[in-house]
């Protein structure tokens, strides 16, 4: 067996690698980060084996460095995502994502009587301090917990 591990997705010279995305949310992450409208070279792999959980996906975006604020938007669906900043093929910085205090337009309020589920409105939540992930709807003030969380 060769010691040199073959990469499932080609290395990039400069840019950002987003690793440990749950495979089922790959395309959601692409859409949240607006990569579907991005002109840069993007390579991704999905259904890769992961030690953390079943199947993961990885995205490599060449010549792009995201703002933390943008990257944190994926924290709800990919809380374990790891970010590697690449310069000249080397990882120069590693980052984790943090669920932001205010979540706009990603999650669905679980209250069927909430105005956001009845009219075209961008959802908005505030993160509640608790042991589990809990989001308080800015509109109906009901709390959506992790078990009821639906990503839009």
């Amino acid at each position: 067996m060769s010691k040199k591990k073959e990469l499932s997705v080609n290395a990039i010279k400069e840019g950002t690698v987003i690793d440990h995305i749950p495979a089922s949310y790959l395309f959601k992450v692409i859409s949240i980060l607006g990569l579907d409208h991005c002109e840069n070279l993007i390579t991704f792999g999905t259904n890769l084996g992961s030690n953390r959980y079943g199947k993961k996906a990885i995205i490599k975006v060449a010549d792009k460095f995201f703002e933390d604020e943008d990257l944190n938007r994926i924290a709800l669906i990919a809380p374990e995502a790891r970010l590697n900043i690449i310069r000249d093929y080397e990882v120069v910085e590693k980052k984790e994502v943090i669920v932001p205090q205010e979540i706009i337009g990603i999650a669905k309020c679980f209250n069927p009587k909430c105005i956001t589920n009845n009219e075209e409105i961008t959802t908005k939540f505030n993160l509640v301090n608790s042991n589990v992930l809990a989001l308080k709807c800015h509109y109906c003030e009901k709390i959506t917990t992790e078990e009821h969380l639906v990503i839009l």
Partner: protein, 302 residues
């Protein structure tokens, strides 16, 4: 408060609550004032609520303002498919203030973001009804002479009752002790208990409605509604347990007053009505003064 919407009771600070209570007392002394002369208030009731609507419209009329609006959604363009956003955008060009009742939760917050004029929430589904809370607070202040350090008993549906949730949040400013009496199925939700814990406020839960009320300063009764029970047998079991009868008031404190957001069904026996401790009809009257205080503060005329 000037030009600010009132969507949730949490939008008011302790000082603002006290200011409204003080102002409500002044309006009670002198109810007919032309402070809203030349002002137009839109009264938008997307679902009927006669009591709340008449209370608001009385308040507006006593202040010399004019009212436009509708009393249920069938007489508005909602039936033609107009969105809430469009209705609010349009009406906020006509009126100086919008009073809105809507069956969907969060509708008032959303309307306040779309409107060019302040919104007063007159009830958004099961979420908030802040003017009811203000009249409850005014009633407590008026009957007890203070809002501080009171022992407040809440009885009935503590799970779904929005008046209960809003009142406990507002009273939390004033160092109360709460006693919650309810059937198992309708206990106060955990999120409110955690919240009270975080504020260091004492509370006790009971499932039996007994002579523990002898310690109460305020007894806040609510209706146990049949439709809240998944199992009709459970409703039959509890429906007659949480009824206040006159005989139960024998050993209660002299300053005790019984409040109820109304309408009542059978949870307060009619024999209580003649007891001087019954306060629910006066409480409803206080709503007019509380709403006069709220609207005139928001319009900046006091």
């Amino acid at each position: 408060m000037k030009n600010r919407s009132l969507v949730s009771i949490n939008d008011f600070s302790k000082e603002e609550i006290l200011k409204i209570v003080e102002l409500a007392a002044k309006f009670e002394e002198n109810p007919n004032q032309d402070l809203l002369k030349n002002k137009v208030v839109a009264s938008l009731f997307f679902e009927p609520s006669t009591r709340t609507r008449l209370s608001f419209e009385t308040a507006i009329n006593r202040l010399g303002g004019r009212v436009v609006g509708f009393t249920d959604a069938s007489s508005s363009s909602t039936t033609k498919g107009e969105t809430l956003k469009d209705t609010i955008k349009m009406i906020s060009n006509y009126a100086d203030l919008i009073v809105m009742r809507h069956p969907l939760e969060g509708s008032a917050r959303y309307a306040s973001e779309q409107s060019g004029v302040p919104i007063v929430n007159a009830g958004d589904g099961a979420n908030q009804h802040p003017t009811q809370t203000m009249l409850d607070l005014y009633s407590i202040q008026k009957t007890q002479g203070t809002l501080e350090n009171l022992n407040i008993f809440m009885v009935g549906d503590l799970k779904y009752g929005r008046t209960v949730h809003s009142l406990l949040q507002a009273m939390a400013h004033f160092n109360p002790v709460f006693n919650f009496i309810s059937p198992e199925e309708l206990r106060i939700p955990d999120e409110y208990k955690y919240w009270l814990d975080s504020k260091g406020i004492q509370y006790y839960e009971h499932s039996e409605f007994t002579d523990i009320i002898s310690r109460a300063d305020i007894l806040y009764m609510t209706r146990v509604q049949r439709e809240r029970f998944a199992d009709p047998i459970e409703y039959e079991k509890v429906k007659n347990v949480y009824i206040l009868k006159n005989s139960m008031l024998e050993n209660t404190k002299d300053n005790l007053r019984i409040l109820h957001p109304l309408p009542r069904v059978n949870e307060i026996s009619t024999d209580v009505d003649a007891n001087p401790k019954a306060y629910y009809f006066e409480q409803a009257e206080n709503g007019v003064y509380a709403r006069m205080a709220i609207m005139s503060s928001i319009l900046g005329v006091v």
